[in-house]
Symmetry: D2
Subunit: 161 residues, 4 copies
């Protein structure tokens, strides 16, 4: 079993720069998370972008889709900012024979209290178990990636019809 991880930025990888008193996207925490999780499957991590998801463009989404399409792997976990995660999921729809799970975090992985580790765990399981398609693993749930939205007020993901 092999999973390709593709990191694009987002809150999950935010770090704090004291000098400027602000957050920026830092090095991906995915390898660290997989190491602590004592995983015993083959994987590789590709860092494609380091962006807030509000800064992801159509060109970025096309580049991501091409990357997945041209990759021999069939299972993908994509870490992504939460605000436009559903848009990127939509842009990845329709790739036959690929199980693609997007995930991220509402609280940075570098925090003591974070949803990042749990979310990556969900995504890894869904990438193995779910049939080909695009999914979003957030808020404790594995959603159809084309039928989900972030409810910003409630700070959670929820299914839409």
């Amino acid at each position: 079993m092999f999973i390709r991880f593709i990191t694009t930025g987002g809150t999950i990888d935010k770090i704090y720069f004291d000098a400027m008193s602000r957050f920026e996207v830092g090095e991906s925490q995915v390898k660290h998370i997989l190491g602590e999780a004592l995983v015993a499957f083959d994987f590789d991590v590709v860092s494609l972008f380091r962006k807030d998801s509000l800064d992801m463009t159509d060109a970025d989404r096309s580049a991501l889709r091409s990357h997945v399409e041209n990759d021999d792997a069939t299972r993908f976990v994509v870490t992504h900012g939460t605000d436009t995660m559903a848009d990127t999921a939509a842009a990845l729809a329709g790739l036959d024979d690929k199980t693609i799970v997007l995930t991220g975090a509402l609280s940075p992985a570098r925090f003591r209290s974070t949803d990042a580790v749990f979310n990556v765990g969900m995504a890894v399981a869904a990438a193995q178990v779910a049939p080909p398609g695009v999914y979003i693993a957030m808020s404790g749930q594995v959603f159809d990636g084309t039928k989900v939205r972030k409810n910003r007020e409630a700070n959670r993901f929820e299914a839409v019809e």
Copy 2:
């Protein structure tokens, strides 16, 4: 979506008693893990045992099976010690219409570095996505619960034929 969590003890819930310089099974960390994960689905946690898995008896496994069988829920996550997790999975086989995922940890959930949070994340995703059956979510993988063993030397779970 509703998941019933059943806790039985094991390393995942170990605490340290300084007075005796030893570990014992403490209160389950599952609710704490789900809270940090910001999950937004309905769940309930039943604490059935607080045992090292080496102390789980056939009677315990029968009691667990009865509990699952008589429960209206269809999705279950069972936290369990790792040494006999596969035995308990075997004892839960053959229950129609129930997706049962066993998980636990090689390092206690109360440690700074632990596989517990990731593993519960995997189990929660598998309980939603996998067809009815018994599974073990450990070592980054979702195994058929009747075809997996703990490799104690390598400290990981692996598939068996």
Copy 3:
């Protein structure tokens, strides 16, 4: 032994607001830190400000000085942002019979990796052991509060002549 803690904000208490993708000063982490440290002395926590230290004004420093001066306590730990911590230390000089230790953090207390807990530990010890005066406990050291500066480039505090 009694210590009065006064919190004024700063990086130590920063939280992350996903909705705005930015950090703000949150509720003080001092009580949480003292709880985990299993301290067994009497203390009280006063939250005076919730400010980045760059926003601390002369009026704020006067208010802080008055607060300390009019307080019956003789031992104080003041949590504070790092950028102007030395300015506030200077503004607290000359209060007889009071041992005042300022501390804070270069990395927020809510992070998995933070200097906050260690720094508060240093400050608590210095408030007990040091003679009356003003001190800064940062970068593993207890400095004379009137002879220290933050070296922003090196991201550490250092003594000045």
Copy 4:
């Protein structure tokens, strides 16, 4: 400013061996703690023993005393199990010109919730600020090392007359 750290074992450095379901003294966490604390002073760590403090013998205490006596350093932090920490403090009394602070933890440093980091912070401050002598930094307090005991029932250190 230079501090010599001497590690002797104890709960602070306990790790969990899943294979045997028990705790043992692992590699010292002191360097890790100092690294996270972003300390900027010179130090060196000597690992003298890896023992539960109940296993510390008179010969061990003599060896520790000799080590300190023959060391050029004047500031020491000794990490130690809590049960006999006061005995070891007594065995270190009477060394002129040396400030020796013993500390440890009631909960292992590898736990998410631990007093270890705070305690080492207290010890580092006391080693700088306190006059020559032997001290114990535990339970949020810096005690005279010859006038303190562990109250096992209350799980804290307290002064004795």
